[in-house]
């Protein structure tokens, strides 16, 4: 096999055709200081699918997501969303940041946080009307938080905080949902509630991309996987790309033997 074929087969560089993919990334390199965190990554997300971004700690999963949204500036690379530039399509994207990234002591109520999802529609001074409040309430109900609207956000459990963040994203009414570790540190009930909502979204034809760290649930939760360890290590439908060799390449020696055996069994 020639180097070129080998590189191509491992999907190091996908063809230039990105079409109208909900999210297409080309040649993305991001560095903190002089250390590349994400290196030369290409990614093409499938419309209407749920994609998990997986990889070991510090592999650049969150950074990839943030760079795709322009939250951190990439060193090089291009992003298209539904075939257009990011600025033209911001209102079609909803981002759910990591729960730990904000100050939960901030003086605000649950319903105010969800209302932030409507700021795009409301503009600077647009009045909040009944229909907006109804929408906030509906989004809260969708994640099972309808009775918590008046709570101070600091009083919520970790799982409840995560649901509020999801409700805020729902309020945006976007077509592409990007979630950063939505299941990190949440209770089992919340995890079920969130995955149900995400599956509903997918069934409505929306596209969902989530940074995920629990390998045991990848198969049951997601349609596609994207493996990354600073570089892209694989991409595609779960049954094709979520394989033991691919995982071993992604995690190196960091994947315990037992885990590998279990995953191989699941794949069986």
């Amino acid at each position: 096999m020639s180097p070129l074929e080998l590189v191509a087969e491992n999907g190091l560089r996908a063809p230039d055709l990105t079409g109208d993919s909900p999210l297409a990334i080309r040649g993305m390199t991001v560095s903190y200081g002089d250390q590349p965190v994400v290196y030369s990554v290409d990614m093409t997300v499938r419309q209407g699918a749920m994609t998990a971004i997986i990889g070991p700690n510090g592999a650049g999963k969150s950074t990839l997501l943030k760079a795709a949204l322009g939250i951190v500036a990439p060193l090089s690379g291009q992003v298209t969303v539904f075939g257009q530039g990011l600025d033209a399509t911001r209102n079609r994207i909803a981002y759910v940041p990591q729960r730990a990234s904000v100050d939960w002591d901030f003086p605000t109520r649950v319903s105010d946080v969800v209302m932030m999802g409507l700021y795009g529609q409301l503009g600077l001074l647009g009045r909040v009307r009944g229909l907006h409040r109804d929408r906030v309430q509906a989004c809260l109900a969708r994640v099972g938080m309808q009775d918590f609207g008046d709570r101070q956000i600091g009083q919520l459990s970790g799982g409840q905080q995560q649901r509020v963040f999801l409700a805020r994203a729902l309020a945006q009414g976007a077509d592409l949902y990007l979630l950063d570790e939505p299941f990190a540190g949440v209770d089992a009930a919340t995890e079920r509630a969130i995955i149900n909502v995400l599956h509903e979204l997918r069934d409505e034809g929306k596209t969902v991309v989530a940074v995920h760290h629990d390998l045991s649930t990848v198969r049951s939760y997601f349609d596609d996987v994207f493996l990354i360890n600073r570089r892209k290590m694989g991409e595609g439908p779960v049954e094709q790309a979520f394989t033991v060799p691919a995982l071993q390449a992604t995690y190196g020696g960091r994947l315990a033997e037992g885990q590998v055996a279990q995953l191989a069994l699941d794949a069986g």
Partner: protein, 301 residues
Amino acid sequence: MGAEFVALSLPPILIGTLAALACALPGNFLVLRRQSLVGDAISHVVLPGIVVAFLVTGQVSAWPMMLGAAAAAVVSVALIEGIRRLGRVDAGAAMGVTFTAMFAFGVLLLEQSDTSGVHLDVEHALYGNLESLIWLDAVGWSSLLDPAALSGLPHELERMAIVFVLTLAFVVVLWRPLVLSTFDEGYARSLGLPVATLGLGLVIVAAITAVAAFDAVGSIIVIAMFICPPAAARLMTNQLVHQVLWSLVFAAISAVLGYVLAGYGPLWIGLPNTVSAAGMIATVSGLILAICAVAGPQRRA
């Protein structure tokens, strides 16, 4: 009594109150963004700004000095950011380096230049001269309706009123982006909000307020009002709108009560002279914070 109050006490009370309100308003966001000490840093660098302005123009007049102070504030913010980012130094230390060096430069410049004929010294920049802002044309409450007398009001009143309206407009119009970028910067960026520009805008508004206020009321009040009323208000409520309203109430109480205590308090306990109004206003705001820290309904996280 009425005539004396309107002529001697009403203008400083109004000016002090407007200055306190104008500082407390952006102060709410500074405190929530863990940038409380930006106000501290800006207030310190006002000194070199006014000294340079004096050396350039050769006179002590309001506008050149305010421009000089504003320029110094911009320089200091640029320096702090430069040191923080390029030198990879934490924000607190970067501020400490910048404002002490600039203040020292101002003091040295002041000592080296001939300011004997003019009223320009470090104490003035720190304490202001609230007590001297009197309304000579006033003969009583009726003067408030007399256009001729009104034109004799101290210019500081007009200036602080304009600055207060400006800060109010800034906070009201940009309320949603400010809240969003303060609470969840990553999410705000994902919506395409110019988060960095907003942050800079907030600091600039704080600088304008600090610069306008220092001449009338001195830097102590500026620092105290940026921080104490918002911090006390945070201990009263869990809702940002209510917090901002509480902070305005506390700022106004500090200004009025502080002025009255400084002007009349010593007489009540038999001391011959008044005491510094600027110092007393800061003290009252500190007492309010202390009370809220002990008894505020939302004092604990």
